[in-house]
């Protein structure tokens, strides 16, 4: 395949970026999207140019490190996958592909396609945990039976990989799906109920302070989420938040 890549280049956070064109040839359908970028970078290095910086690590769709806005969609065309799982067979010879970083005020660009997602970290520090110390003396794991349905639903929420596609897909750059996934995981489990009130209040407060936008229920986040995290978790968080506010 022969393709034209239009890639966002930006030296660092303090400089302006722009789209630069790169023609590329010899791309095979079995290559992953990031392997295609590896080939481009190898060519750039051999020519004495600077390679394109992008985040990636596990390359199997679980670490949440890779990002990229590809032809206007977080993680590109194809559903239920991250960029590193996208394969070139989704494209055809002669295509032009736009590659940009995730865009949001709360995710400033570090370089080229690499963004700073530490705002997500700070939201987790505010309450994404159950306050239990490590000891050899916690109660036996089978002491509290948990309804399989609740356990499965908590697990589904916990499969969020923290990539930020929800924020990048949202016209308001809202982080509601990300925060709701964590709040819901714990709210569904008896262990998490003890601190449920403080947790939802603290996490939502931090989310607002980080400059994420409001949720207007357009549902783009659910569509683009590589793990298919459901909008229903946002509804659950809203109920949790309302109940907590009334208590508080």
């Amino acid at each position: 395949m022969k393709l034209t890549l239009k890639i966002w280049r930006q030296k660092n956070a303090d400089t302006k970026g722009k789209i630069v064109d790169y023609p590329i040839d010899g791309i095979d359908g079995d290559m992953s999207f990031l392997e295609m970028l590896d080939i481009l970078n190898e060519e750039l290095i051999n020519k004495g140019d600077e390679p394109v910086a992008f985040d990636h690590d596990c390359r199997e769709g679980i670490c949440g490190m890779c990002s990229l806005h590809i032809n206007g969609e977080p993680h590109g065309p194809d559903k239920g996958i991250t960029t590193c799982q996208l394969h070139m067979r989704m494209f055809k010879d002669g295509d032009t592909i736009f590659i940009e970083p995730f865009r949001a005020n709360a995710f400033p660009v570090i370089k080229d396609l690499v963004v700073d997602r530490s705002s997500f970290e700070r939201v987790q520090h505010a309450g994404g945990f159950i306050s239990v110390n490590t000891s050899g003396n916690t109660i036996d794991a089978n002491t509290i039976p948990i309804n399989k349905h609740d356990a499965d639903e908590a697990f589904e929420a916990a499969t969020c990989i923290g990539c930020g596609a929800c924020v990048a897909s949202c016209k308001n750059s809202s982080a509601m799906l990300f925060v709701a996934a964590k709040v819901s995981q714990f709210a569904l489990l008896p262990q998490g109920k003890v601190e449920a009130t403080e947790r939802v209040l603290n996490m939502v407060k931090q989310m607002d302070e980080e400059g994420f936008g409001n949720c207007t229920n357009t549902g783009a986040c659910e569509v683009e989420c590589p793990k298919g995290i459901s909008l229903e978790y946002i509804a659950r968080m809203n109920r949790e938040y309302l109940a907590a506010s009334l208590k508080g």
Binding site: D30, R59, E60, C63, A126, T159
Partner: protein, 665 residues
């Protein structure tokens, strides 16, 4: 220098308890005056950082990713072992200990393995208390599955993403301590040297990967939880950034590197598709609970499949060779990984590989789909003899158990594994070797600890499935937090460790010299060019089968490649900026040294054990042939170049288990 493993006295089952009763403790007020550096935030580093902070120490934690949650433990799929005996199938601490020692081909330390088995049950309790959503049965209790090399069901899991859930548990415990200010987190930082002051590890040199600044960090002790070195092969199931640099720099500062040649080549990975390949993807061992491995019996069928004239589903059962079931009837498809990998290689070397490259075997779920489908049809009151109904229900059960793995497979290979068997081949996955540690998990450099995959201790020459997660969390939650206190008790009056000392100056200069050399080198080839070449040497000569001639060649070739790298590598950009090529170059430079030591260790070990298979040492049936004179840990001391490394031996004694032929027949 004699290696002292510091194994406590007394009967095996009492060692850990007695040890805990007799060590020095640090009182809570004094813990506030003590700093600990933890490098790496996977299951081992993350759980250690959180627990040390809970205890009251000031923790500085480092990871090269943009969040601790991204450490490669996140990618572990199948599960975590624990001797809970919830299934009532005869499990016990002793049996988990026994399975692990036997699985490791009698090349691990008894006392460490027993302690691991002993604390395993607490890990599950701890994780459930943290809100880790393990799979449950309809009655609300925890579910288990089986893994290779054992005859009980002791593996706890969360679909095909157990590592993710456990790591998010440790990450949440870290977040609580970061929020309290007890952990200072340094994301996007790479450790590039250990600083030793007065014979003790007192700090690290780290590079901020965003700004490129080189920083000094001091502490009273340094803990490395930095994972394995599988990427020395270039292609492996490790993450792209996984590296040996922290452990290797520690080695160059005096820490012994143990058993570098013990590598786990995992039997069920997606085969290589071409030269562009950047990494390999694992398909969890849990799939061998339900998948049956086979190749055609007849060469005509093999060729027809390769040419696309026959589909695997066209081959009738009598023309299939379920070679694991044939060779190992007692364990069948659930033999340990080293055995399963060699058996796949044996069939493919004999010409029976089923893909274009001849390096693939089938992993087939048709029997499981039928079995589960009948059961569910029966339970739901449908006709269990209607193949359509059975298939639908059977696929539904398989999707519930392994859905994410099947999706991964389909995205990569572009074939639907619900309809046609998966194609799999062994790939580098885990490294049992690592820094030598004593019973306290301390290296031979005082104050320098090493936990999780980065150390050598618990898995001998072969790790059993679902035991890496167990070891990472055991080390981090339950072992290190005790043992480090015994050491730190002497530091309560030391005060802050200054960083303006000659030792920090020297270490920082060392790091800067390497960075500047690489960035100014302006050679002809990229970092990946050298990394791929190294990987080919490693795979061809230090891979699933090794021999003396190949290993001698590898040593010469790697040394030559290393020289070429320093002369001819090209690293674009500048030092003081986000520069991934520069970070990669520093990692590959270390792999080019480790690779040579790896080959030297493999050459020296004139036996076959676990993942280390020397062609010269095999039984008549082609099984690994252990030799009693090699019943030791090979711990290497750095002396300037890998070829000059000096071997120290820690003899292994087995008092509670009979060393015998390892059989899974």
């Amino acid at each position: 220098m004699a290696l002292d493993s510091k194994i406590p006295e007394g009967p095996l089952a009492d060692k850990w308890t007695n040890y805990k009763n007799n060590i020095n403790l640090v009182n809570p007020a004094n813990k506030r005056n003590i700093d600990v550096i933890v490098v790496g935030t996977g299951l081992a580093g993350g759980s250690a950082a959180a627990t040390l902070a809970e205890l009251g120490y000031n923790v500085k934690a480092f990871c090269f990713q943009d969040s601790p949650r991204r450490a490669h433990s996140i990618a572990a799929q199948g599960g975590i072992n624990a001797a809970k005996n919830y299934q009532g199938d005869g499990d016990s601490t002793y049996r988990l200990f026994y399975d692990t020692v036997k699985g490791g081909d009698y090349r691990s330390r008894e006392a460490n393995v027993y302690r691991l088995a002993e604390v395993s049950a607490n890990i599950i309790d701890q994780c459930v208390a943290q809100g880790v959503p393990f799979a449950r049965e309809y009655g609300g209790l925890l579910d288990n599955r089986s893994f290779g090399g054992v005859l009980v069901s002791r593996t706890f899991y969360a679909a095909g993403q157990t590592g993710q859930q456990l790591l998010l548990g440790a990450y949440s415990a870290m977040n609580r301590q970061i929020g309290r200010g007890k952990i200072t987190m340094y994301n996007r930082h790479e450790m590039l040297d250990v600083v030793v002051v007065g014979g003790k590890a007192r700090g690290i040199i780290a590079r901020n990967l965003v700004t490129g600044e080189v920083e000094r960090h001091s502490a009273h002790a340094v803990v490395l939880g930095t994972g394995g070195y599988g990427n020395v092969f270039f292609l492996s199931t490790n993450a792209m950034g996984s590296n040996v640099t922290a452990a290797w720099k520690a080695h160059k500062r005096g820490a012994f590197f143990a058993n570098p040649c013990y590598t786990q080549i995992h039997p069920t990975c997606i085969p290589v598709s071409g030269e562009h390949q950047s990494k390999l993807t694992l398909m969890s061992e849990s799939l061998r609970n339900d998948g049956r491995i086979w190749v055609p019996k007849n060469m005509d069928d093999v060729l027809a499949i390769r040419e696309g004239k026959l589909k695997p589903t066209d081959i009738p059962a009598e023309n299939r060779d379920y070679y694991l079931e044939r060779r190992y009837p007692a364990f069948g498809n659930l033999v340990p990984r080293d055995v399963a990998s060699r058996a796949a290689k044996e069939r493919c070397d004999a010409g029976y590989g089923v893909n274009r490259t001849g390096e693939a075997v089938f992993l087939d779920f048709a029997s499981a789909i039928e079995r589960y489908g009948k059961e569910r049809a029966h339970v739901k009151g449908f006709d269990e003899n209607d193949p359509k109904v059975v298939k639908k229900f059977g696929q539904e059960v398989i999707r519930e158990k392994y859905g994410n793995l099947f999706q991964m497979y389909e995205k990569i290979v572009d074939q639907n594994p619900y309809e046609t068997p998966m194609m799999i081949y062994p790939a580098v996955h885990y490294t049992m070797g690592g820094l030598w540690v004593d019973y306290n998990l301390m290296t031979n450099v005082p104050g320098l600890y090493c936990i999780g995959e980065a150390n050598f201790s618990d898995h001998g020459a072969n790790r059993l499935g679902a035991s890496a997660l167990m070891q990472g969390l055991a080390d981090g939650y339950f072992v290190l937090p005790y043992t480090i206190g015994d050491y730190l008790a002497q530091d309560i009056r030391t005060g802050k460790i200054p960083t303006n000392t000659p030792e920090f100056d020297e270490a920082e200069k060392n790091v800067n010299d390497s960075l500047e050399h690489l960035i100014n080198n302006n050679g002809a080839h990229s970092v990946d060019h050298f990394h791929k070449k190294l990987g080919k040497i490693m795979w061809n000569k230090c891979g699933m089968a090794r021999n003396a001639e190949g290993l001698r060649e590898a040593i010469v070739e790697i040394a030559a490649l290393r020289e070429e790298f320093w002369k001819d590598v090209r690293v674009p950009g500048i030092q003081h900026e986000f520069n991934e090529e520069l970070a990669k170059a520093m990692r590959v430079a270390d792999y080019l040294e480790l690779g040579e030591l790896f080959a030297k260790d493999a050459l020296e070990r004139e036996e076959s054990a676990g993942g280390h298979f020397r062609e010269e040492f095999q039984t008549e049936e082609g099984e690994a042939l252990r030799r009693p004179e090699f019943q030791y840990v090979a711990a290497w001391e750095y002396k300037g170049a890998p070829k000059d490394a000096i071997l120290h031996k820690e003899e292994l004694e087995f008092e509670n288990i009979e060393v015998k032929e390892r059989s899974y027949k």
